[in-house]
């Protein structure tokens, strides 16, 4: 294992069951009603207002796959692989099935996942939404997701993963493969909302073709037992990729996340931004790696951590690797506490020290998310604010 790659002493798959109770689509209204708030918290609106389509999976049952806009396809990957023989060209193409025990498990024991696609030239007016939800205690959800933006199309996605409030422990394994075709664009905003005993292993890969754009935002502000992911993005000629993650780790959460961008097409650009807050005895590893292997590539990595306790830990690992002479890669990493000067400034405007610290943490997490359609950007900002508000 190379330096900087996570050592995974992760969850034991055997601890979790694959026997899921089946949910019936006729129960959908009841489920939507019951978990309305939990769904909304991760950006899934059961009403589907301002959405171009919806996908909902609860445990191992796909309960909703609804298309609103023409030229958009939404279905479970199990249905998609039946429908499209060509899908085998995309299946395990951006992520290797033998990568680790978790990808192997998803390969052997897949429990659906979503297939989202925009046809050539189609631009989604509103984002598609998806939610992968676990309701059953001790369940392992092993999803395999495929997202394809065909040539010249634009696909905006907001996706949430969460568990029912009553669920204490669960395992979420998620393989996601993204294909951004020539001149296409995908924006992917993922919100996680876990519970203290939930273990999570997403495994993602993205392939961006010529002139493609991929923007990925990840938000996780709630406690989780153990979460580790390391999505890899391969940038083709003139491709643009941005990855932003906003993490608030509390209690004894263990989070190890990072992003790898491979600038293998000439003139491609990549940016990795991560903001991490560690509280209580949380343990966070924030990684980032930029690899430049083609002419005129540029990449920047920004990894900033805020420590709120003496028992937490932030381990920041920025890495740059160039194998051609005109690759331009840079990074900026910092870990620190809340500045006393900033607190003092806000107290001089009438806030108490606690209020000032809260406002500064909220501000720290309030990263300007670029590249999203205006209304979605505003929704995501609101969601971050609301979650951060609840932290105090």
């Amino acid at each position: 294992m190379r330096k900087g790659m996570p050592d995974d002493n992760g969850p034991e798959i055997e601890k979790y069951t694959l026997k899921a109770e089946k949910h019936d689509t006729k129960d959908l209204p009841e489920i939507e009603d019951k978990y309305n708030q939990a769904f909304l918290n991760v950006g899934y609106d059961p009403k589907g207002a301002e959405r171009s389509g919806s996908f909902l999976q609860v445990d191992h049952s796909v309960l909703c796959s609804k298309v609103v806009q023409e030229g958009v396809e939404i279905m479970s990957t199990t249905d998609a692989i039946e429908k499209y023989s060509w899908l085998s060209d995309y299946w395990w193409h951006a992520v290797a099935p033998e990568k680790d025990v978790y990808t192997q498990q998803v390969d052997r024991k897949q429990t659906h996942g979503y297939f989202l696609r925009t046809l050539p030239g189609v631009k989604t007016t509103y984002p598609l939404q998806s939610c992968l939800f676990t309701e059953q205690e001790g369940l392992s959800q092993n999803v395999h997701n495929i997202v394809i933006a065909e040539e010249g199309s634009e696909l905006h996605i907001i996706t949430g993963c969460s568990v029912a409030e009553k669920v204490k422990s669960a395992l979420h394994l998620g393989v996601s493969e993204f294909y951004v075709k020539k001149n296409a664009k995908i924006t992917f905003t993922m919100i996680h909302n876990w519970a203290p005993e939930v273990e999570v292993r997403p495994r993602s890969g993205t392939i961006i073709e010529e002139n493609g754009v991929f923007i990925s935002n990840y938000v996780c502000l709630d406690q989780v037992k153990d979460l580790q992911m390391y999505p890899v993005t391969y940038c083709g000629k003139n491709a643009r990729a941005t990855s932003q993650s906003i993490i608030y780790a509390s209690k004894d959460s263990k989070i190890d996340i990072g992003s790898k961008m491979v600038l293998q097409g000439e003139n491609s650009r990549a940016q990795i931004i991560s903001r991490t807050v560690a509280q209580d005895s949380a343990d966070v590893t924030a990684r980032g790696i930029l690899t430049g292997s083609a002419a005129n590539v540029k990449g920047h990595l920004e990894c900033i951590g805020l420590m709120l306790s003496d028992t937490a830990r932030i381990y920041s690992v920025p890495e740059l690797e160039a194998t051609v002479k005109d690759a331009e890669l840079s990074h900026e990493a910092a870990v620190g506490r809340i500045s006393e000067e900033e607190i003092a400034y806000l107290t001089a405007r009438g806030l108490s020290e606690e209020e000032a610290a809260g406002a500064i943490v909220r501000g720290f997490l309030n990263v300007d998310i670029k590249g999203l359609p205006a209304s979605l950007g505003e929704q995501v900002r609101q969601m971050i604010r609301m979650s951060a508000e609840a932290l105090e």
């Binding site: 003092a344 107290t347 001089a348 501000g363």
Partner: protein, 253 residues
């Protein structure tokens, strides 16, 4: 309004103010001159109660109340406010939200009142969306600080060099706004706001009239008097000469 008696103040265990006395009555505006490092800013931050500024002796009475021991937020609630010379950048908090906060409004929706005030300070709506102090020019920082003060509308206003590094056009606007904050535009008997202004070159006094001027040297107020006399002496012969002459006059008395 404010009565400081025999104040001793330390920063990181280092004495910065020594037995300092200063009284500011309701409706009065004072300017404080003095060389760099004489303790002017420390005095303001001590009055404001920043934790780093430890009072080791004396008293600060504000509106009849001993405020030593009160937190900065509590002192602000009693009615004091400050415009900083070098405020920090606060990432993720927009200027508009900050102005809301100054008015005690915690909503993130930038209010109509805030927008009206911004216009008065020649800030656009877009400018209110910027993170507080991030990439602001010198003049923008001064105007932003004064805008925040105006939203707070304190009875006792402290200004730390509102006139340094400001071009003429901005200076006129800033002078006007400070005049408003300090009730300089209404007749003296009706003024209720008081002010303490640190100024290096007394430029601000070209824009507003003040009641008293003081010169600070080595942590004490070494000389006080009418602004005309003090400022002209400082401009002529420097701070120390002004203080020497001042003390000679006092000796003769």
């Amino acid at each position: 309004m404010l009565e400081i008696r025999e104040l001793n103040l330390e920063v990181d265990g280092r004495p910065v103010l020594k037995n300092l006395n200063l009284t500011i009555e309701e409706g009065e505006s004072h300017v404080l001159l003095g060389p760099n490092g004489s303790g002017k800013t420390s005095l303001l931050l001590g009055i404001l109660g920043f934790p780093k500024y430890q009072v080791t002796g004396g008293s600060i009475i504000f509106k009849g109340k001993d405020i030593i021991g009160l937190s900065t937020a509590d002192r602000v609630k009693l009615g004091m406010g400050i415009a900083f010379q070098h405020p920090p950048v606060i990432r993720g908090i927009r200027l508009g939200e900050m102005v809301n906060l100054c008015r005690g409004d915690k909503s993130q929706q930038i209010s109509k009142q805030t927008r009206i005030l911004a216009k008065k300070l020649h800030f656009s709506d877009e400018f209110l969306e910027r993170d507080v102090n991030a990439g602001f020019s010198g003049g923008e920082i001064k105007r932003s600080e004064i805008m925040q003060l105006m939203a707070q509308n304190p009875d006792f206003v402290m200004l730390d060099e509102p006139d340094s590094g400001v071009d003429i056009e901005n200076m006129e606007l800033i002078g006007n706004m400070i005049g408003e904050l300090l009730h300089r535009k209404i007749q003296p008997s009706k003024r209720t706001a008081s002010g303490l202004i640190i100024t290096h070159l007394a430029t601000i006094t070209d824009y507003i009239e003040v009641d008293w001027a003081h010169v600070m040297l080595d942590g004490v107020i070494a000389c006080s008097g009418s602004p005309d006399r003090i400022i002209s002496e400082v401009m002529k012969g420097g701070y120390e000469k002004c203080v020497r002459e001042c003390q000679m006059t006092m000796d003769r008395k």
